[in-house]
Symmetry: C2
Subunit: 425 residues, 2 copies
Amino acid sequence: MTEKFSFEEIQNTLRQMGEKALEASRALGVLNSSDKNRCLIKMAEELEASADEIKSANAKDLEAGKAKGLSGSMLDRLKLDSERIQAMADGLREVAALEDPVGQNISTTVRPNGIRIDKVSVPIGVIGIVYESRPNVTVDAAGLCLKAGNAVILRGGSEAINSNLVLAHCLNRAGVMTGLPDGAVQLIPMVDRQAVSVMLKMDKYIDLIIPRGGEGLIRAVVEQATIPVIKHYKGVCHLYIDAEADMKMAAEVVENAKCQRPGVCNAIETLLISKEVADKFIPPFLENMRENGVELRGDEEFRKYDPEAKIATEEDYYAEYVDLILAVKIVDDVESAVRHVNKYGSKHSDGIITENPIAAEYFLSRVDSSTVYHNASTRFTDGFEFGMGAEIGISTDKLHARGPMGLNELTSYKYLVHGTGQIRK
Amino acid sequence: MTEKFSFEEIQNTLRQMGEKALEASRALGVLNSSDKNRCLIKMAEELEASADEIKSANAKDLEAGKAKGLSGSMLDRLKLDSERIQAMADGLREVAALEDPVGQNISTTVRPNGIRIDKVSVPIGVIGIVYESRPNVTVDAAGLCLKAGNAVILRGGSEAINSNLVLAHCLNRAGVMTGLPDGAVQLIPMVDRQAVSVMLKMDKYIDLIIPRGGEGLIRAVVEQATIPVIKHYKGVCHLYIDAEADMKMAAEVVENAKCQRPGVCNAIETLLISKEVADKFIPPFLENMRENGVELRGDEEFRKYDPEAKIATEEDYYAEYVDLILAVKIVDDVESAVRHVNKYGSKHSDGIITENPIAAEYFLSRVDSSTVYHNASTRFTDGFEFGMGAEIGISTDKLHARGPMGLNELTSYKYLVHGTGQIRK
């Protein structure tokens, strides 16, 4: 895709895509569950049947990526092999097996004048997904949006354009074969940045934008969009080891939250330790971190125990390392811990380890994060671990969806009012 | 308020207000219901005790408004007399009497590994309200936000600045006297437009913006904001008289939905009539509309029955008249009615009058509006009529809150996870 498009061509193409998506969303919104599931399963089959086509498009992207000098880890994220194609297909079948989030009765009220007000879940409408390199997002996001009755407009990274186009065509083709409206799944074919800018202002057609990627991408989306955005910002997660923590539990949870998978957003980046237990907790903790190859950066107090640790700067406390690095701070009490978390955290996931129910209650009620833990690892913030069966991301926003976003969070609601001719007095 | 502020002064003032509001919101979020209610009642008393001060500030606004040549209806909206001050105070007492929306358990899940996940309602945090002339919004919006545990930053219209400042000071003073943190209620003291622009980008401090006013205001807010916005756009509401409508009911509901209070957003602007019942429905309808002084604008078909009616243009079908004017169109069937509503409507409130349950179900499931009615007047779309006990507005958005927004819609949620040392495998 090396063609250059004029701004007018971009606008026209996107308007047509928007109209098509809106039209498709009307039809999608009233499809029943078994029809939607049939489509999802057909999509899975179509991906499997098109594996060669997908791999050869992906080879073009990889080649271009190498020529552009992408890093090894970037190229790895970009790569689609048989196993990854199979994983995408399996993912669609899993989504097909989940309960339909649409058409649920949320509440029913009968008013004194006799009107009955049913609040029911409905699709949001048209969802725009803006994402970076991983082409599997094309399939995963489309599958979840469709299951919730939404049409989707995808805008992937330029480095994966060939892979994404083939994947999106596969999905749309399978959808049309099984009765889905044409346009339920569309991918923006042009890589120009202007196309995103145009997309983000199409509030006439798109109801929600979900950006998936780094902070720079999300910031750019928020600044340009006139469409509501649900942000999945970074995870600067904390654990606080309280004065009354169980030391064995504290050691295990810290190791898990930092080391089990340091590259994900629900891993911790900063450890807060009550000064009351510093003497007891720190020596075995230092050994454990050394065994796990974790680099520590601490405040003055902490460095009395570990003089080799780097000094933690303000920047360290704001940092999302997504790596085997941990900032550490010794604090006076649960109150200072909460203050630290609310100042430096990213409203994602934070926890306290304590046997004291009052300290736990204080921490849980005052930490302003999507998920707050008492005596458990922050690594559980995840749609699957929460029992949602799926996850399109983890919202660090407070509106509409907070924390893990599953299928229910991809729906809206409306009120259906039944009367017998009631008029307002 | 005729001083001029530099951009830097505006930025500094607003940043300080933002910091203060964020700090206040932390304290507000953990206040219990009786403390919040005590504050609200004290605020009501303070308004009553300050009636003279309020009226004299209001007199300045009225004088400036006259000098600026504001219309009579604008001046009336601006005016605060004893009765209106009493109504604001009474409103606060009513909000105090409502159930606290914060701290409700939304759901509890126990996972196979034993962690317990409680989803509980929490305040949103800091809410920004941007509104036009009516100074009562200062009190009404602040009362609802506080009851839901949110700090509020208010930005009223320049023409009401003196009244709004006195009202906001009254509320904040009463709050501080009864234990509310200083800064729970703040009003932006400068009337410069730049102040709104700065406010709308303060995503570090403000979690939600609710604009209340005309389409121009809302559009400007959406275009500038980097903070989530819940829009309360216009109401282009419809009634469709189906082939199988009860004629007496249809006549009564149409009259109510158009004439009972034509200046509000849930009154209808367009009437769609099935061609099957046009002969029967239209003659008495014409008489009724004439009696009510309603001006009709119709398509060619309709004008065969009413040659004096103006021709309805495309613009008419998109128009929110908020006046005794009604656009009329004769349609083939429920399918064309739905198509018309989804094309020209504003996703607010629309209804069908029919005795045919299949037609009703078709209309209710396919019309993409916050509230869809079967055999009832659209005038019921209202927080009080829905039993919410209050209303901060009617959302025409699909995210977070749709339709009437009461206290529950001014909350978010978070997950509280209790474990016994669980770690992720």
